[in-house]
């Protein structure tokens, strides 16, 4: 099964809508609730990252009997230092975004903690692609 979502940069009012739709689909497929929880945390953080940092992006979710693959591609500033970005507590989010309770430097670590495979490809000035894989067993 393939699901596709568009994400607009700065549109916080819709942040989390892809995550909640995927959650619903996984529930219907009777996926183990503990796995759904991990998918939801990882995808929400990745979705919010596009909203908070990029201009726009898209999410492709591929669901099979063995697991889910999430590909998030954005047009945005890219990440100059991925190692730093992966450090808990490090964030480049704006003051406004931080005041909303985002940008605490926990997003990428949360994705990493909840996924079986997590890779970041980024080009500064162009955009960032995430590949997140979570197995169902």
């Amino acid at each position: 099964m393939h699901l596709e979502f568009k994400v607009e940069g700065g549109d916080f009012s819709n942040a989390g809508s892809a995550s909640s739709q995927i959650k619903r689909v996984l529930k219907q497929l009777n996926i183990d609730p503990s796995v759904i929880k991990r998918v939801v945390v990882a995808l929400y953080e990745a979705e919010v990252n596009i909203v908070a940092h990029a201009y726009r992006g898209r999410i492709d979710a591929y669901i099979s009997s063995s697991g889910i693959v999430l590909k998030l591609e954005d047009e945005g500033p890219g990440i100059p230092d991925v190692g730093k970005a992966m450090t808990k507590g490090f964030s480049t989010a704006s003051k406004e975004v931080r005041e909303m309770g985002f940008g605490a430097g926990m997003g990428l670590p949360n994705i990493s903690d909840n996924s079986d495979v997590f890779t970041i490809d980024t080009i500064v000035g162009k955009g960032t692609s995430l590949n997140i894989e979570i197995k169902f067993r």
């Binding site: 929880k37 939801v40 945390v41 309770g101």
Partner: protein, 110 residues
């Protein structure tokens, strides 16, 4: 203990989704950082925060939280209320600060 018992014992205001007050409360989590709540809150907990915008409902829904309590007399924004109604997860309010409210909730749940 259910949400309704917490509302009565802590003298909370119900801003929205009163139909959700029969939900069982498994614990509490206090934080104003959404990623912290995403990463560490657990299903059935009550979330204590001063954030009032709509994204708190996205987090509460995705994490299957029992309710949200806004501290220090803060009121939810209108689209937060709409999302709360749609999801059936109550947004509650208290005049207490997060520290005091967390202490009271801890005491009645322990």
């Amino acid at each position: 203990m259910i949400v309704k018992d917490v509302v009565e014992k802590l003298n909370l205001e119900i801003f929205s989704a009163p139909e959700g007050v029969d939900r069982v409360v498994t614990g509490g989590y206090t934080s104003d950082l959404l990623s912290d709540v995403m990463g560490h809150a657990r299903e059935g907990q009550i979330w204590i925060t001063l954030q009032t915008h709509k994204n708190i409902m996205a987090v509460a829904t995705l994490k299957d939280l029992a309710a949200i309590i806004l501290v220090k007399g803060f009121k939810p924004e209108s689209d937060t209320l709409e999302a709360s109604l749609a999801e059936g997860i109550p947004v509650l309010g208290s005049d207490l600060e997060a520290f005091e409210l967390s202490g009271e909730l801890f005491n009645i749940l322990k």
